[in-house]
């Protein structure tokens, strides 16, 4: 039976839910508090070897030679590999043409070939009978390098004279390539209306530039992978990933193994936030397993490796110009965004460009985005990738416009904020959205009008936009004899989506959440499913779950019609009750009755349109110590439109967690490099993610403007609230001590300097 294409518009008027909107406890979480939950790092197989990776001490160097002999001779060492052990991809890459480049980058990032491109770039890997022997063996691998001047700074990298990182790289402008070698990988542009004209109509124009540092997702479970390359050619992988199919396909391409021979098993994941989509260790573990005689090989990164060698998010340089008339109407806005992609092209600058002005109705817009390679680790996604940097710049400029126009910042946003029917810069039209609701709700928060209690305290607000994601999802469901349902999906559960999926199926079938047992299937047992990214799982996989629910109901109605000899239309289902002629049955009653001799299971795959974008508006109070530059977050309220909160307690947790990452980004987190391009702060002692006493008790406020593109109104909740914090905090700092911060992080040293400079200028 064919699932209806999940695209038709949903009417959420006076929808009553039985399960959705409650916050049941997921029994599976018991394993997390007893320590019995199995994560990638907990994988242990009989005869398992331990792998370790040799990493470059240089930010940019040519590899002249690698000698592994001494390491291979060590007792206990079972295999040593270098890039020479990878299959030759030349043919493959040529056949892919332009798009072959990305495969080359992928492979070169996993093990450097002729050049190392960043401090920590993998060069060789070892498998041995113990981790200690493996790490000892690394020191016996002899690599000779020829140093090349590195470039870690984004603006230096864009200069003509800068060392070129990829001699074959040309700037791509939608298919048109520049002539000369460059570090600028691509240029994206949005243009609408006439900015010059718009600025001429403005009564206030503010133009500012901003710098933001590289930051890392900072998950606690390090990257890890265990692989068993069996003699029969089957490759099994257990790893810490957001997407099992994505791992399968990447490994398949890199090692040139047909997907049918690769099976990837999902496990609990100890944090990801976008950082566990790309593979780093899986191909190494697989090759080591093969070379060591088909023994399972486990590799776990140290946190030093996680910080130096796995994708953080982009550092950026941003120029913003915005104008508004005296009524507070934005007349024009331009943005110039340069994002550091790291060693290989592919920063999230395009996403940033598409999202930066999305919350506002602006007729005259010009946005230019540049993707720039530098000698830093290859950047990866991080929770609403690239948007926090861009929105920081935009919302700080807006705060200055409000100050100059003497308009309340929330009123200003109400005046300019987008509504249903408005169109985004990129041409997407807004359906039902909740931006105005977040603004109204924020205004009505007691926090917004509460008095500040001390000197050097200030309040700031900022809004933000996140597009949310859709993508492909599959689900299968089978009815047990007791009328409960087993649900399997391909979505890795990072923070409780098994529950939000159980609840959506339970709602569809009219049963309780704990009547549905949801698990994540491995790649052999479920249809293709994209990774758990873009806040997409409750939306897209939720769609798939809803569809299998409809299929189960349809199948039961047909069976009942046959049994009772009634036309199908006389077997009705609503509010969880089957009405058959004049008899009534609950789902459980009918299911247990109709599935004993003839089991019932269904499955479906979807790729739904109708993704519902999210908006948030945050309020924060800070206290600044003007003598030290230290910022204390006194109070934080985060208002976010989630469409529909399936499990409100989980949604609150998502908002609180995202805000805390935003606070870290705003105040202390940054990659610090020396002149040679070596990262200095490679532990969680000096890469300062917020600790418990660093943050207040964050108040999440859930706004529900149902997404018409989803049967239960889901938009997605995971990412949105990491976007506003840096701007909101910057605006609060200005309110507290009168300095406008234009650099992230706003660390004590930087804020102190800004306060000094202001002091000098003000007299």
């Amino acid at each position: 039976m064919i699932a209806r294409a999940p695209s038709r518009k949903q009417n959420h008027k006076d929808k009553k839910f039985r399960v959705i909107g409650t916050s049941p406890i997921r029994s599976g979480d018991i394993d997390k508090v007893t320590g019995q939950a199995i994560y990638g790092i907990d994988t242990h197989l009989p005869g398992m070897l331990y792998g370790a990776v040799l990493r470059s001490p240089h930010a940019h160097a040519r590899i002249l030679s690698i000698n592994c002999l001494e390491a291979e001779m060590m007792p206990g060492v079972k295999a040593v590999i270098t890039s020479a052990d990878f299959p030759d991809l030349t043919k493959q890459i040529i056949s892919l043409g332009e798009e072959g480049a990305s495969l080359q980058y992928q492979t070169d990032n996993i093990l450097a070939r002729d050049k190392v491109l960043y401090y920590g770039h993998a060069v060789a890997a070892v498998a041995a009978t113990s981790l200690h022997i493996a790490t000892e063996a690394l020191q016996k691998i002899n690599v000779t390098y020829e140093d090349i001047p590195p470039v870690v700074d984004i603006r230096k990298a864009m200069d003509g004279g800068a060392p070129v990182i990829h001699s074959n790289l040309r700037t791509d402008e939608l298919g048109k390539k520049s002539n000369n070698p460059t570090n600028i990988a691509s240029h994206v542009q949005f243009k609408s209306g006439n900015p010059e004209k718009g600025f001429s109509q403005a009564s206030v124009v503010v133009e500012r530039e901003f710098n933001t540092a590289t930051v890392h997702q900072g998950y606690i479970e390090p990257q890890n992978a265990t692989a068993l390359f069996s003699a029969n050619g089957q490759l099994s992988i257990w790893c810490s990933t957001q997407g099992v199919f994505s791992v399968r396909d990447q490994v398949s391409e890199i090692l040139q193994i047909p997907v049918k021979y690769i099976r990837v098993y999902p496990l609990e994941v100890g944090g990801a936030f976008g950082g566990k989509n790309r593979v780093y260790l899986e191909p190494l573990a697989a090759l080591l397993s093969k070379k060591s005689g088909h023994k399972p090989v486990k590799i776990v990164m140290s946190h030093n490796e996680v910080l130096t060698a796995t994708g953080p998010t982009s550092a950026s340089y941003i120029q913003i110009k915005m104008g508004a008339d005296n009524k507070g109407q934005i007349t024009a806005a331009t943005a110039w965004l340069a994002y550091a992609a790291g060693a290989f092209p592919g920063s999230s600058v395009e996403t940033a460009a598409a999202c930066i002005f999305a919350p506002y109705r602006i007729d005259n817009i010009l946005i230019d985005g540049y993707d720039v390679v530098v000698n830093r680790p290859w950047t990866a996604s991080y929770r609403a990738p690239g948007v926090s940097n861009a929105v920081f710049a935009c919302e700080v400029v807006i705060d200055e416009l409000c100050e100059r126009l003497a308009i309340d910042p929330l009123d200003f946003r109400c005046i300019n904020g987008v509504k249903e029917g408005d169109q985004r810069t990129n041409g997407l039209r807004y359906d039902r959205i909740g931006f105005q609701e977040t603004l109204e709700t924020a205004k009505n928060q007691p926090h917004y009008t509460a008095p500040l209690l001390g000197p050097h305290q200030g309040r700031g607000v900022a809004s933000g936009f996140w597009s949310n994601g859709g993508g492909r999802s599959s689900a299968s469901a089978s009815i047990n004899l007791d009328g409960t349902v087993n649900l399997a999906t391909g979505s890795v559960d990072l923070t409780g989506t098994r529950m939000s999926l159980s609840m959506q199926l339970a709602e569809t079938l009219g049963i309780q959440a704990d009547d549905v047992r949801t698990s994540t299937a491995d790649t052999d047992f479920i249809g293709y499913t994209d990774g758990t990214w873009g806040s997409r799982t409750s939306f897209s996989t939720g769609w798939a779950v809803y569809e299998v629910g409809r299929q189960l109901i349809y199948a039961l109605r047909k069976r009942a019609a046959d049994l009772w000899q009634l036309p199908l239309k006389h077997v009705k289902f609503s509010e969880g009750i089957f009405t058959i002629g004049n008899q009534k049955f609950t789902f459980k009653e009918l299911a247990s009755r109709l599935c004993e001799d003839y089991p019932l299971s269904v499955n479906t795959s979807v790729s739904p349109d109708g993704v519902g974008p999210a908006f948030a508006t945050h309020i924060v109070d800070v206290e600044v110590d003007p003598e030290t530059g230290q910022v204390k977050i006194l109070r934080y309220t985060a208002v976010q439109d989630v469409g529909k909160a399936i499990h409100p307690a989980y949604v609150e947790g998502q908002i609180q967690g995202a805000v805390t990452q935003g606070i870290g980004w705003a105040l202390n987190e940054e990659y610090i490099y020396d002149e040679a391009g070596r990262m200095l702060n490679t532990s969680y002692l000096d890469y300062r993610i917020p600790t418990c006493p660093d943050v207040p008790s964050i108040t999440p406020v859930i706004v529900e403007a149902p997404n018409p593109g989803h049967p239960y109104g889901v938009r997605g909740a995971g990412e949105m609230s990491i976007v506003p914090p840096p701007a909101a905090i910057a605006n609060a700092i200005h309110a507290a001590v009168g300095v406008r911060m234009n650099t992230l992080p706003m660390s004590p040293a930087r804020l102190l300097e800004a306060i000094w400079n202001k002091g000098l200028h003000s007299d």
Binding site: H132, L685, R688, T691, P693, S747, A749
Partner: protein
């Protein structure tokens, strides 16, 4: 981690002989909160770890009004913070020791370890210096005693000679009446961080509590080793406890610093923070001195 041997020393003599035999490649294992990390990173190497936690002398913790305070080198930060005499008579030391790491570190890290790791930013060392603490050292040629300010000679380097072992730290008895002390540090995070600047001050006020009879100021993270600033103390002697005097002392301390730019702070920031923290620490120490009167 590279392989090493492990021995547990049961008395000072045994420890000293292990250290003498193995020479440079033998390292003392106490709480391990620095050493184990350094061995893992490969920034330190060792062929032998000598565990000294079981040596009785290194676990002494006693206070005597005439002898003062004796803290064995192996006594944990946690135990120091719980010791009533330290709360009462050495609040500056309590300030510092309670800042060393989170709870997990407190139970393992020791005063001796913090000293012997000889980090310029070590929190406990300025606090020990202001209390005129001395190090009792045992070695192949018998034992000796040196003042804490002479113990650290360079970043990560101490005055300990081959085969020598820090046994305990002795703090003279507090001056009676009008005494106050305080250790403050600045860190970007409120916990789990390394001092950008650390400041310890101890003062003795005149009987009417309006004048400095004596003062001692020591700084952390602003020079290759923890820094005693005699000039600041001498200046304060006889000065009124006025804002002006405090400001001047802070200025003297600031001028004595030789900080560097590194990932944790800049020269300008460290010099500036030195003056700020000296002022705040003096104000707090004076407050404590006057507080003690109320209690006595």
């Amino acid at each position: 981690m590279l392989a090493f041997d492990y021995v547990k020393a049961h008395n000072v003599k045994q420890a000293v002989s292990y250290l003498s035999q193995r020479g440079e490649s033998a390292r003392i294992l106490n709480g391990g909160t620095d050493l184990i990390v350094q061995l893992q990173e490969g920034s330190q190497r060792a062929s032998l770890l000598v565990d000294i936690k079981a040596i009785p002398e290194l676990n002494q913790l006693s206070y005597d009004p005439h002898q003062g305070l004796l803290v064995g080198a192996a006594v944990s930060c946690w135990d120091i913070c719980q010791f009533p005499a330290i709360k009462k008579y050495y609040p500056g030391l309590l300030d510092a020791v309670s800042l060393i790491g989170g709870v997990q570190i407190q139970g393992r890290a020791s005063l001796g370890g913090n000293l012997c790791n000889a980090s310029p930013a070590a929190d406990s060392i300025p606090a020990l210096i202001i209390y005129q603490a001395t190090c009792l050292i045992a070695g192949p040629d018998g034992s000796r005693e040196i003042s804490v300010e002479d113990f650290c000679i360079a970043p990560g380097q101490t005055a300990l000679r081959l085969g020598e072992l820090l046994v305990s730290v002795r703090l003279p008895p507090p001056k009676i009446g009008g005494t106050g002390a305080c250790y403050l540090r600045f860190t970007p995070r409120s916990e789990m961080d390394i001092a950008v600047v650390g400041v310890g001050v101890a003062v003795v006020l005149s009987s009417d509590r309006t004048t400095f009879d004596w003062a001692r100021i020591a700084l952390g993270a602003v020079a290759p080793t923890p820094l005693l600033v005699p000039a600041a103390g001498e200046f304060l002697r006889g000065q009124k406890t006025s804002a002006a005097a405090i400001k001047q002392a802070a200025q003297i301390a600031k001028e004595s610093t030789r900080p560097i730019n590194d990932m944790r702070g800049t020269i300008a920031q460290r010099k500036h923070l030195t003056a700020i923290l000296v002022r705040r620490a003096l104000e707090k120490a004076i407050g404590r001195a006057q507080q003690n009167d109320k209690e006595e």
